[in-house]
């Protein structure tokens, strides 16, 4: 049985609200929790197999040029070393998300410092590491472009638009903002470094790897190796964080597979933390020119947002900085611009919420500047500028929750009664700030198989991944709710490319896509049960393993009569993706204290109110928001990739120098999840929530710093050095 559904029409039935098991939406504990807290969850490098060799990657130490020679023989003579591999099939950089084919290959042409160019394989890890450190590379070096350059940047056809006359609107404006904001590069820094264990049986390859999107990754890996995708199996039952960095197949996985084939033994390759920084994706630095024009009441009449980003030559991806700008606020005069500078730096790709993470953040700092200029409360300024329709494309919104989030967040935070900005307590200056959140909502083609067994248990199977997002929990809950089973009687199998193909985890579309496919499969099974019970599916009640129809309750075991029921559900995007603007919305509020002597900023409290359609699990959804908000804390205060101006090398390529927020940096954040059903999104009326929490989050902190000190930071992060000069001035005045 197969149930296929294309989202061509909104689904107003709200079928899940008619179910009575009462588990969906609750904060059920993750079913995979006990494995994770006992160390028995198997991540990529944990699936060790007998006779496994260890490989360590070797990196290029120049920014651009040709690799002329590798002294393989000398290294192969070292104790334990089995081989030094390199060649045309090595990946220059990871594949971009949903690429579905290999990225640029070959270890001969070097495009950035840190590019993996060889693999040393040995019996033991220590021998392979020593071998990798002993490799001598000889190059012919070429002149490199290591810094983004606005003058020579490409102007792509996409991501450009204009309406009306922005310049004229700026001239006529009662209040305006015209400023340049910059954000530095970021690294996903998932706690699990990219790793793979590859093993061949004949021409069949099995790889345990850390991947977000298996359907695409199988094709990317097969293409890279030049083999039939049917012969490739990827296992990723647990992924130690992704945040975009594991969307596409990456260099260590291809190298492990090549080595295992060459040596006829399983090979494990894990990137070192430094290699994760250098050879997986970075979020591009951005330069954003923002113009806002408003009338005397603070209503926007014009918005301009022009971005400069960078990437390697030959990469299609460019950070979609302005993605939310066309629809977030009103204003008839609009200009969106985008340029890409080609640089010899680590590949730029998706890092949590590509686009909005940095684009909404800069826009929301600009909105705070407008509020200050106009003397309007920042929350009020947003309320006055919520558009009736998507102004960029003149189409309706599927659902619009910005006002609700602003109101809820302001009330929860106590915005009206916030402390006076600049109030001094000892050496500390207090301030509060807020910002809006928004992220586009998407769905992708996705399949799942559900089997209802005669013993009253159910099995959900899909190649979908759980990268910490809570997939194991929510797919369990959807099936339990639809089939009327206690969650303990539902088992979810994920992360095996042999299972039905899902959209994968990325772009906040995983829950909507994979969840809908489970919903559809379960709906199909319900129809079959209804038929057997002689009723319509709409009048069938399933609860606690009983089928109830026409006031008659029968155990499912009796209905199934010894044979399982199985259905495959498949969802695909359709006309609802274009007919309306689908987005999630939220609002952030923060209170900071800035040390008047040192310039140190401490976040005292932070609140987020978010709407993302139906919430599938209150606990895991909240945790996703906590994670997003904390990425925002890092973006506002500490995170910054620093490139050596000589060769583009990421200087701070580890966790001691690239500063993630630690426990002591993060107070007890509060999160409210708002009630919403979005019929245009999917049959569950749910939207993605994994990225919303970062989209604009950093701005509320930067705006709070301004409230505390009067200092406007336009170049993130707001490190001490950017505040000290202004603080000195405050002291002179004080």
């Amino acid at each position: 049985m197969t149930a296929f559904h294309k989202m061509d029409e909104p689904d107003h039935r709200n079928r899940l609200d008619a179910m009575v098991q009462g588990v969906l939406g609750t904060g059920m504990d993750r079913p995979d929790g006990p494995e994770k807290v006992t160390g028995s969850a198997t991540y990529a490098h944990d699936g060790q197999v007998a006779g496994m060799l260890h490989g360590v990657m070797v990196r290029a130490t120049i920014a651009k040029g040709r690799l002329e020679h590798i002294d393989a023989q000398a290294v192969e003579a070292l104790p334990g070393v089995r081989a030094v591999l390199h060649g045309d099939r090595f990946l220059r950089n990871p594949a971009q998300g949903t690429a579905n084919e290999a990225p640029v290959q070959g270890s001969r042409d070097i495009a950035y410092l840190g590019q993996p160019v060889a693999l040393v394989v040995a019996d033991r890890f220590e021998q392979a590491r020593h071998g990798a450190q002993s490799v001598t590379l000889r190059y012919s070096e070429e002149s490199a472009s290591v810094a983004p350059d606005a003058e020579t940047a490409e102007v792509p056809d996409k991501k450009q638009s204009s309406a009306g006359d922005l310049a004229a609107a700026m001239d006529r404006a009662a209040f305006c903002v015209d400023a340049v904001y910059t954000t530095p590069g970021h690294n996903s820094a998932a706690m699990e470094p990219h790793a793979a264990i590859a093993a061949w049986e004949g021409d069949l390859l099995t790889v345990r790897a850390s991947c977000q999107m298996l359907k695409y990754n199988v094709n990317e890996l097969a293409d890279a190796l030049g083999v039939d995708p049917e012969h490739v199996r990827i296992l990723s039952p647990f992924v130690g964080g992704g945040f975009g960095s594991k969307l596409g197949i990456s260099p260590e996985t291809v190298a492990a597979a090549l080595a295992a084939r060459a040596l006829g033994q399983p090979v494990a390759v894990a990137l070192s933390r430094q290699q994760v920084f250098e050879a997986t994706m970075r979020r591009s630095e951005t330069r954003q020119h923002i113009r806002l024009a408003a009338d005397a009441e603070g209503r926007l009449t014009g918005i301009g947002h022009e971005a400069l980003v960078s990437n390697l030559e030959g990469e299609d991806f460019s950070e979609p900085v302005t993605q939310a700008t066309p629809f977030l606020y009103r204003g008839e005069n609009r200009l969106i611009g985008h340029r890409i500078s080609r640089v010899n730096r680590t590949c730029a790709g998706s890092v949590r919420a590509p686009g909005e993470a940095v684009g909404v953040t800069a826009l929301e700092i600009a909105m705070d500047e407008l509020a200050t200029a106009a003397g309007i409360d920042p929350v009020d300024l947003r309320r006055r500028n919520i558009p009736e329709r998507d102004p960029g494309e003149d189409r309706p919104f599927s659902s619009h929750m910005l006002r609700a989030a602003l109101d809820d967040g302001a009330a929860a935070f106590g915005w009206e009664n916030r402390p006076q900005g600049g109030a001094r307590q000892g050496d500390w200056l207090a301030g509060c700030g807020m910002s809006s959140a928004s992220r586009v909502n998407m769905i992708g083609k996705s399949s799942a198989r559900v089997t209802l067994h005669p013993d009253g248990t159910a099995l959900v199977e899909t190649d979908m991944t759980d990268i910490g997002t809570g997939t194991y929990a929510i797919l369990n809950q959807i099936a339990a709710e639809m089939l009327g089973l206690p969650p303990a009687r539902v088992k979810v199998r994920l992360g095996d490319s042999d299972l039905p193909k899902s959209a994968g985890s990325g772009g906040s579309w995983g829950a909507s896509s994979a969840g809908s496919s489970v919903f559809l499969a379960c709906e199909r099974i319900r129809q079959d049960i209804a038929e057997r019970c002689g009723c319509d599916e709409g009048t069938l009640t399933l609860k606690d393993g009983m089928a109830i129809a026409d006031n008659r309750a029968r155990p499912l075991a009796q209905v199934l009569a010894g044979a399982p029921l199985q259905a495959e559900g498949e969802i695909d995007k359709g006309k609802t993706s274009e007919a309306v603007r689908q987005a999630t919305f939220g609002a952030f509020f923060a209170e900071v204290a800035v040390n008047a002597v040192t310039g140190e900023t401490r976040l005292r409290r932070m609140h987020g109110s978010f709407a993302a359609g139906r919430i599938l699990n209150a606990k895991t959804a909240r945790s996703q928001c906590l994670g997003g908000m904390t990425f925002g804390i890092g973006m506002a205060l500490t995170e910054e990739l620093i490139h050596d101006p000589r060769d583009g090398h990421i200087v701070n390529h580890d966790l001691a120098e690239y500063h993630l927020p630690v426990n002591a940096d993060v107070p007890q954040l509060s999160v409210n999840l708002l009630e919403e059903r979005d019929p245009w999104a999917n049959p569950m009326q749910a939207k993605g929530i994994g990225e919303l929490g970062i989209c604009g989050a950093g701005a509320c902190i930067v705006n709070a710093i301004h409230d505390a000190t009067g200092i406007r930071v336009r170049h993130l992060p707001a490190t001490l050095d950017k505040l000290l000069e202004g603080l000195d001035r405050l002291d002179d005045l004080g």
Partner: protein, 169 residues
């Protein structure tokens, strides 16, 4: 090099390269992959284990330096069917998302609570000689050697606070 280790109460005779870290010995030689490698140089805390009662980064120490030592890893704290109070609290409070840093967090928290009982002050302790009040700030400070990119920090603090206060989850 021959090294005798007692791991989770069981004696092991390790014969490994002198360059082998305690972390790699656990993972690659002894088949205990519960302890995770996040950075391999003491910056993330994912590899935290308890050696002779003290929490350490197992990536920063060589296995051969621990001859005769008692090592406790995540596998020694509880099992799926018999979780320790902290393990149970981490599940109930969602003190993790991807779960990769979690074994290190739980080993670290287990030893950290003993440090507090023993009266060790921290950077945020107001009085170096007084009994330590187990505030959220104390927990957060003492757990800041364990990074969590999923940022379950507020939930980690809640989980540890609940257990420290004798709460059941």
């Amino acid at each position: 090099m021959q090294t005798k280790l007692t791991i989770n109460g069981k004696s092991h005779n390790l014969n490994a390269d002198t360059r082998t870290t305690l972390l790699d010995a656990l993972r690659n030689h002894l088949g205990m992959t519960g302890t995770k490698k996040g950075c391999d140089h003491g910056q993330c805390g994912a590899c935290t284990v308890i050696v002779n009662g003290r929490r350490i980064n197992s990536c920063l120490t060589l296995a051969c330096m621990h001859d005769g030592n008692e090592v406790t890893t995540i596998e020694g704290l509880g099992t799926v069917d018999d979780l320790s109070p902290l393990q149970r609290a981490f599940v109930a409070h969602d003190g993790f998302q991807c779960g990769y840093c979690t074994p290190g967090q739980i080993c670290s928290a287990t030893a950290m609570l003993e440090e507090i009982k023993a009266g060790w002050p921290s950077h945020v302790s107001a009085d170096l000689n007084a009994e330590i009040a187990l505030s959220d700030a104390e927990i957060a400070e003492r757990m800041s050697g364990n990074l969590c990119r999923c940022a379950a920090y507020p939930n980690i603090v809640e989980a540890i606070r609940t257990v420290a206060q004798g709460g059941r989850t």
